[in-house]
């Protein structure tokens, strides 16, 4: 009986293990193989080239541009996204009427995929007939090349990414605030903490687990953001100003008939290591703070 049960556990795990083996573990190994092999015009890997792709990558100024673009995109989406959500949640805590309306408004972007949000913003950003420039014209300002001006394109994509994630951040932080025991807040109020003092010295520190979680998760999400760039800034936009790591994988490997899977795989492995490090940090901290509290 027991022996049969042992087999049963493996039988129950088999479907999941099979999927992971074929579509995660094998590709993981294959990524390293691809990144150390050349590729022919059809994208099939050819002879072993060692660390050539990585040497090329590290001596290619484009690579460092991609890295710094990725870093900029990440910081510009994560910081305003998390801090903006924190500000909104604290404001909603000031016991005013109509909170539910605001909450529902901030939850609306949940309904939108990255693709649909990006397409809407593409219409809004349209240089000639877009409503963004329409409004600028209304106040007498010069039109902006939201997606065509190399100085603006990254910011324009950043706005979409923040729009997509703000609601989620608000939700997680609201849940965090709701979980703060009322007596702690009451005690702080009795001690004379009110308004902003109460928020900054009592509520924010109590939200640190949520803030930490959101920062790591948003960072990982921003590092993986692809759709908004593909829709709004194909080929990385003017001057490649919106070419992030993930986009470089697609650009080198697939976009416009490119098929340099070796270089694309080298980019993929760089992305893999960055995300792995961040996730390891997250697991390490959350393991203590969330799972076993």
């Amino acid at each position: 009986m027991f022996g049969r049960d042992h087999g049963l556990a493996w039988l129950f795990l088999l479907p999941s293990l099979a999927v992971f083996a074929v579509f995660i573990l094998y590709p993981l190994v294959e990524s390293f193989v691809l990144s150390t092999h050349g590729s022919d015009i059809f994208g099939n890997s050819s002879r072993y080239v060692g660390f050539k792709h990585f040497r090329d990558l590290f001596s290619d100024p484009d690579f460092y541009t991609v890295l710094s673009t990725t870093a900029m995109f990440t910081v510009l989406t994560v910081l305003p996204g998390v801090l903006g959500a924190l500000a909104l949640v604290l404001l909603m805590e000031s016991r005013i009427r109509g909170i539910r309306i605001f909450r529902s408004a901030f939850a609306l972007p949940f309904a939108f995929s990255a693709a649909s949000a990006s397409v809407i913003f593409a219409v809004i950003y349209n240089p000639a007939v877009g409503i963004a420039n329409g409004m600028l014209a209304h106040v007498g300002a010069k039109p902006i090349g939201w997606l065509t001006d190399p100085d603006w394109v990254l910011l324009s994509v950043v706005v979409v990414q923040i729009w997509l994630t703000l609601g989620y951040n608000v939700l997680v932080l609201s849940a965090g605030v709701a979980a703060i025991p009322a007596d702690i807040l009451e005690a702080a109020r009795l001690d004379g903490a009110t308004g902003w003092r109460l928020h900054l010295s009592v509520v924010v520190p109590l939200l640190s687990p949520q803030l930490f979680f959101l920062t790591v998760v948003s960072t990982i999400n921003s590092l993986q953001a692809f759709t908004a760039i593909r829709v709004l800034a194909p080929e990385g936009g003017p001057g490649g100003k919106a070419m992030t790591l993930v986009y470089a994988i697609y650009n080198r490997g697939f976009e416009n008939g490119n098929s340099d899977l070796g270089t694309a795989s080298a980019y993929a492995i760089v992305l893999l290591f960055i995300v792995l490090i961040l996730t390891a940090i997250q697991f390490g901290v959350l393991e203590r703070k969330v799972f076993y509290r």
């Binding site: 795990l13 479907p15 999941s16 909104l88 649909s116 593409a122 219409v123 998760v217």
Partner: protein
């Protein structure tokens, strides 16, 4: 300035900031819905109209002529549906094994599940693409669903939920003669229903919103998903904002209804991701 005036002022300021933020968040949603019924002149005059000058439901018919949106809608429903059901089933089986069944190397195998959560899909997308291409599965449902039939995240969530069941229940699983599948279906599934619903919502939305993978493995319009078809409206040189917005409105309708009427589920489904 006395305290009452200062309080009033602070409150007004709070309202102003919240209203400005809410308007900024809601505006793109409003504009997409309003624009979807606007006649062309509303969208192409300068400055463009904010309110439709008249209802133009013909936009929706024109979208279906521009791209095979009906096919793509169906593809998205089928693909997301298969992925959701499969993830719930495979996760239930795996979580059940971890909690209720005796096994060797339980910790190691569970660690392996958790480890897969750390791998960003984008980093292994190229070998996966080659796998599908070499198996001549491009432009098939297989390509769109096969890599996503299991979910370490779903398994993890269900395991957490099972572990909170009373001890006696787990003992009952061991001695109950009625068989494990029966026990899973009759006892465990009903008890874990809220978690299952959350996982289902999360799986469905993730699958529904996919973009990168379908972009690589499908290029026939009739095999593409809604997300690709809808964004295709924006690609052509002659992109017509009227059609684009009508396409977006059609494509977000199901999820918008889900958010408006099923906010509780969505919130639970999405925040359950918060412990990922």
């Amino acid at each position: 300035m006395n305290a009452i005036v200062r309080d009033r002022l602070a409150k007004v300021l709070v309202y102003l900031v919240l209203i400005a933020a809410a308007l900024a968040v809601v505006f793109p949603v409003y504009y997409a819905l309003a624009g979807s019924v606007m006649p062309t002149r509303d969208l192409t005059k300068a400055p463009p109209a904010l309110v439709p000058s008249g209802l133009h439901p013909g936009n929706f018919a024109d979208v279906f002529n521009a791209v095979p949106l009906g096919h793509q809608y169906l593809n998205s429903v089928i693909v997301s549906g298969i992925i959701t059901v499969a993830q719930v089933v495979t996760s239930l089986l795996a979580a059940y094994a971890f909690v209720f069944l005796p096994m060797k190397w339980r910790g190691a195998v569970f660690g392996l599940f958790l480890a897969t959560l750390m791998i960003p899909w984008e980093a292994i997308i190229i070998p996966n693409y080659k796998l599908i291409a070499n198996a001549h599965l491009a432009n098939t449902y297989f390509a769109l669903v096969l890599p996503f039939l299991a979910s370490a995240f779903g398994t993890f969530m269900l395991r957490q939920s099972f572990l909170q069941f009373p001890m006696e229940l787990r003992d009952a699983a061991r001695i109950d003669g009625s068989g494990h599948l029966r026990f899973l279906w009759r006892i465990v599934v009903p008890l874990a229903r809220p978690t299952i619903a959350a996982i289902a919502v999360y799986s469905f939305l993730s699958a529904w919103n996919q973009y990168f993978w379908p972009l690589l493995v499908t290029d026939k319009p009739k095999m593409q998903t809604l997300q690709l078809g809808m964004s295709q409206l924006n690609n052509s040189e002659s992109a017509d904002p009227r059609l684009i917005l009508a396409g977006v409105a059609l494509s977000v309708l199901p999820t918008l209804l889900l958010v408006v009427f099923g906010q509780k589920f969505i919130v639970k489904g999405l925040t359950s991701g918060a412990v990922k």
